[in-house]
């Protein structure tokens, strides 16, 4: 399996570390919703087909990547930097907790 790192180009699988299912959403750190935490930590969709997942180019540029890969054929469908994705989703998620942070500041 070759993974085409957006920064380094195509590199062998052995340079990469698998970091798991990227379909999950971590609840806010102060969330006390146990079922949300349970589903984040333990529940998996376990897709047979195109699977969205995190990899790190740990033996190369150390970038964290979001890869869409078929679990049936191991074919990689798309690949991108995790930071650009999390930057977008991170902003959406933190929107709810932003006012509270402002309260703490003064």
């Amino acid at each position: 399996m070759l993974i085409n790192c957006p920064y380094c180009g195509p590199r062998d699988l052995c340079e990469f570390t698998y970091q798991g299912d990227a379909n999950r959403t971590r609840p806010a750190p102060d969330s006390t919703d146990l079922s949300a935490w349970n589903s984040y930590v333990y529940e998996r969709v376990n897709t047979a087909g195109d699977h969205r997942e995190y990899w790190q180019h740990s033996g190369g540029c150390r970038s964290h990547l979001v890869v869409v890969r078929s679990t049936l054929t191991h074919e990689i469908k798309s690949i991108g930097m995790a930071r650009s994705e999390t930057a977008q989703t991170g902003r959406q998620e933190s929107a709810g907790s932003a006012p509270r942070r402002q309260e703490k500041r003064p």
């Binding site: 698998y18 299912d21 589903s39 930590v41 333990y42 529940e43 998996r44 047979a48 699977h51």
Partner: protein, 419 residues
Amino acid sequence: MAEYSALSLIKHAWTGNRDWRPAWRKPDPKPSYDVVIVGGGGHGLATAYYLAKEHGITNVAVVEKGWLGSGNIGRNTTIVRSNYLLRESIRFYEFSLRLWEDLAQDLNYNVMFSQRGVLNLAHSPGQADDFIRRGNAMRHGGADAVWLTPREIARKVPGLDLSRSARFPVVGGLLQPRAGTARHDAVAWGFARAADRRGVDIIENCEVTGFLRDGDRITGVATTRGDIEARKVAVAVAGSTGRVMKLAGIDTLPIESHVLQAFVTEGLKPFVNTVVTFGGGHLYMSQSDKGGLVFGGDIDGYNSYAQRGNLPVVEDVMSEMVALFPGLTRARLLRSWGGVMDMSMDGSPIITTGPLPGMYLNSGWCYGGFKATPASGWCFAWTIAKDEPHAYNAPYTLDRFQRGILIDEKGQGATPRLH
């Protein structure tokens, strides 16, 4: 019942071996059964056998997508052991080992169970302490364990590199003498034949495409060979658990499917008469009766439903093998293959009623399902027959993750690729 015996061998030899019956029938599915078991692997067939034998439930069908024993029952490295640390695990796997000891007689089928021992090598004082602790826990739980010094190991396994200059010098080893190996295909065939003789229908080439429902309740399965109604539907499909359970509307489970590879070398003269595992990395190897060295290591480490893996793990496993046995550098690899493992979130299985009414689930075997085959079938049959778990499988619930009562042998948490 045509029993296999020395006498029957002689009789059939005299008559030119023309009158052997097939080991099991090939029936067409009936419209309804008391129990339908999805998955004709080791666990499904064992479940059918024990349902018939222990609970008198013989109106049972086992439906299998491919041919019988085409999945993990025929893809494992055949190791049987009960060398676990936690109480729940020792109790369950030791029960399994006891079933193994009588299995050939019980099934009237030679499963070639060979109690040649499993030797876990320790490569540091810390690992030795850890193994000795596990050995004590095993003995406390009724299993057997012996600590071997390097000198004793040298006598038992002459090919090992036990020099001080080894990359990971061996400081000792934990041996479970009653553990060993079994002929994996024979286990599938033996359970199939024994279940068939008791009236169970084994239906091959019959893929489940959906579940019949009455509201929430599961009332049967839709298959490529027509609908089959059932009072109880039991699912024992290992790596395909996610796919099959989605057909019932269960979208998430505490399971990920991963690919595990296994390897066999060309046939060699008798080289090692026990199962050896490498504690410096992750390798387990034994020699089959044909002479091939059968071995494997870690799972590839990424989600996969493909029954084939990638080369980094191959290279890793080979380097471990050569580190342990330098004399094997010129042995040629004959075959390698992959199987899909149902990796659970704590490394322990799930044998339970539910998650829907009328349904029963047996899953999460990670890559230790083979040794559990008899006990898994026995406990699953009990759970199906009585609608409640036996004490042996009571801890293996589906909701233990949410309730925080995990059975995490290695303490690695919800990282399936590490179990």
